[in-house]
């Protein structure tokens, strides 16, 4: 069998398996982000936001929509891959893949694609929730979709790397709690960095998530604190670096083979 055909069927198999996995447990995977986002909209959008006035020329509730959508995309793409692949390690069914002739790039690609689909499903669900609270038009579909896909790929890959290194269920919650959440909250989901003092603005620009949220906000609202080209360049660079690292880990069998 040609390598391509094998890879195509194997990729489809892994992706289908991943989609079935999170669909089976949709109560834990798809519903919670919808509930959380609804709460954010009620509290920050309606109750507090109505007293805040405009931000970057948009009503506050509209301003936070892109950040909240992207935040759920980031955490769900990450969570999907890290828990699925760590579970595969923990229950040892990762061995089903290791003994088979699937190329490592296809294993990585399959899991990342699963994370992207979960991000897409949750992102769409959150968008639907948002549309109950506010009407918003899309400024640029191309930018919105591109930022969504790339960000989701990036965090799915990061989740994969996390799972390779994880040796316990605690290890898969450390990064989301201590790295991802602070970076997203400080990445300007709820405020425009232009409100910050000079020093903190400069610190904020070292946060990659800021670029993603702003690029996504540009896609939806047409406003941004940063340069779009720089944002895309940064996201792609991160994907290449993390993807390369993940493949290297797989080739060496690190965390997977004794």
């Amino acid at each position: 069998m040609s390598r391509w055909r094998l890879s195509a069927h194997a990729f489809r198999t892994i992706l289908t398996k991943e989609i079935l996995r999170f669909s089976r447990i949709w109560l834990q995977t798809v519903l919670p982000p919808m509930v959380t986002t609804a709460l954010y909209f009620v509290i920050f959008g309606r109750l507090i936001g109505s007293r805040l006035g405009e931000m970057d020329g948009h009503p506050y509730i509209d301003f936070i929509v892109p950040g909240l959508i992207l935040m759920s995309v980031i955490s769900n793409s990450y969570a999907n891959v890290v828990s699925s692949f760590y579970n595969a390690k923990f229950q040892r069914h990762v061995e089903e893949l290791l003994i088979s002739p699937v190329p490592n790039a296809v294993i990585l690609g399959g899991y990342v694609a699963g994370g992207v689909v979960r991000g897409l499903v949750v992102g769409t669900a959150v968008t639907v929730v948002a549309s109950f609270f506010t009407d918003f038009a899309v400024h640029s579909y191309a930018v919105t979709v591109a930022v969504f896909l790339l960000t989701s790929m990036l965090f799915a890959t990061a989740g994969f790397v996390n799972a390779v290194f994880a040796n316990s269920f605690d290890d898969i919650s450390v990064i989301p709690t201590f790295v991802l959440t602070p970076l997203t909250y400080l990445g300007g989901v709820f405020y425009s960095v232009s409100l910050l003092p000079e020093v903190w603005q400069r610190v904020s620009f070292a946060n990659p998530v800021l670029y993603m949220i702003n690029a996504f906000r540009y896609g939806l609202l047409g406003v941004t604190d940063i340069d779009l080209g720089l944002a895309f360049g940064l996201i792609v660079a991160f994907i290449v670096a993390l993807g390369g690292f993940a493949l290297w880990l797989l080739d060496r069998g690190i965390g997977l083979k004794s």
């Binding site: 069998m1 390598r3 055909r5 094998l6 890879s7 069927h9 194997a10 489809r12 198999t13 892994i14 289908t16 398996k17 079935l20 996995r21 089976r24 579970n87 595969a88 229950q91 040892r92 069914h93 061995e95 089903e96 893949l97 290791l98 003994i99 088979s100 002739p101 699937v102 190329p103 069998g253 083979k257 004794s258």
Partner: protein, 312 residues
């Protein structure tokens, strides 16, 4: 024709420092049914793990149907079906999906994968259970699920690491028939087991591994030839009053009506009966004290232990 499996000077030292394989050589010809035997911790699963790409070797070479594991791992993997010692499927996945997915990893298109999965699951009596979570299967069913999963891509070499552990007698016999038939249709099989009767019934080649070294590798016939003695247990018609002395045989009284006899090579069972008849002892039934391969195996492991003791 290259052998189905060829190991050359295969070594494995785990990071813990345990030297699990000390340079083993083994050839298994195509179509062979080979038992890999050895006590707990001998290195069987380690050797299998290396062949199946689950364990990284620290030295030596592996060839499967001529494919070199180092240069063409994909070629090696495509030939092998593995039934591991421990359950390693997703406990929360439905039975049929586990088998269908495995086929997908070997490049079988999904529709075809379902057709094949149905066939193997029916053969292994699991088709009724296809929609339940693997977690809810009994131990014996889980073993059969792993066999189904290993066969769905039609491997040329099937490796089973203790496939009948914890399987009841009836199902074990059904499994034996199934494996024999699979082998008859051309699949080379390598199997580890601690039930030596199983090895004696199924296999033609036997390799014994102990402390990371191959200590015996021969056909089962040749191995049993080497058996120095054979022990029998005799049930007697009447209570025994005294243990008779029969030159050449070793007799031991187990209880009133039971006698254990060791028959050395060169002596015959009919000679034994003649001797007993002369003493007026009638034998109502006779059985082997232990399976013959078991006897060989125990002798060998004992010799290994003595040799080690001597060296220390």
């Amino acid at each position: 024709m290259p052998p189905a499996l060829s190991l050359h000077n295969l070594r494995k030292t785990y990071r813990s420092g345990v030297e699990a394989l000390k340079g083993i050589d083994l050839d298994v010809a195509e179509g062979e049914f080979c038992a890999l035997l050895g006590p707990n911790g001998a290195g069987k699963s380690t050797a299998i793990g290396i062949v199946a790409s689950l364990v990284r070797k620290t030295g030596g070479e592996v060839h499967v149907f001529g494919h070199d594991l180092d240069r063409d791992p994909g070629g090696v993997k495509a030939c092998i079906g593995l039934v591991p010692q421990e359950f390693n499927f997703n406990q929360f996945e439905p039975v049929a999906e586990i088998v269908v997915n495995q086929a997908g990893y070997y490049g079988v298109p999904r529709r075809e994968a379902w057709v094949r999965a149905e066939a193997v699951l029916r053969q292994l009596d699991l088709w009724d259970r296809r929609t339940v979570m693997a977690r809810t299967l009994s131990g014996g069913m889980k073993r059969r699920l792993m066999i189904a999963r290993a066969l769905v891509h039609r491997p040329r070499l099937l490796i089973l690491d203790e496939p009948t552990a914890g399987v009841d007698i009836e199902i074990r016999r059904a499994m034996w028939d199934f494996l024999r038939e699979t082998n008859r249709q051309g699949t080379t099989i390598i199997l580890t087991t601690h039930y030596l009767e199983e090895a004696e019934r199924l296999c033609r080649q036997v390799a014994i591994i102990n402390h990371g070294e191959i200590v015996e590798n021969a056909s089962i016939g040749a191995l049993l030839e080497k058996l120095h003695t054979e022990s029998f247990v005799l049930d007697l018609r009447e209570p025994l009053r005294y243990v008779p002395a029969l030159p050449g045989y070793e007799l031991r009284r187990l209880d009133e009506t039971t006698l254990e006899v060791v028959v050395p090579r060169g002596r015959t069972v009919s000679g034994l009966f003649d001797g007993l008849a002369r003493c007026g002892i009638e034998v109502s039934s006779l059985r082997n004290k232990q399976n013959r391969l078991e006897q060989f195996f125990i002798d060998m492991v004992d010799r290994g232990r003595q040799a080690q003791g001597g060296a220390q």
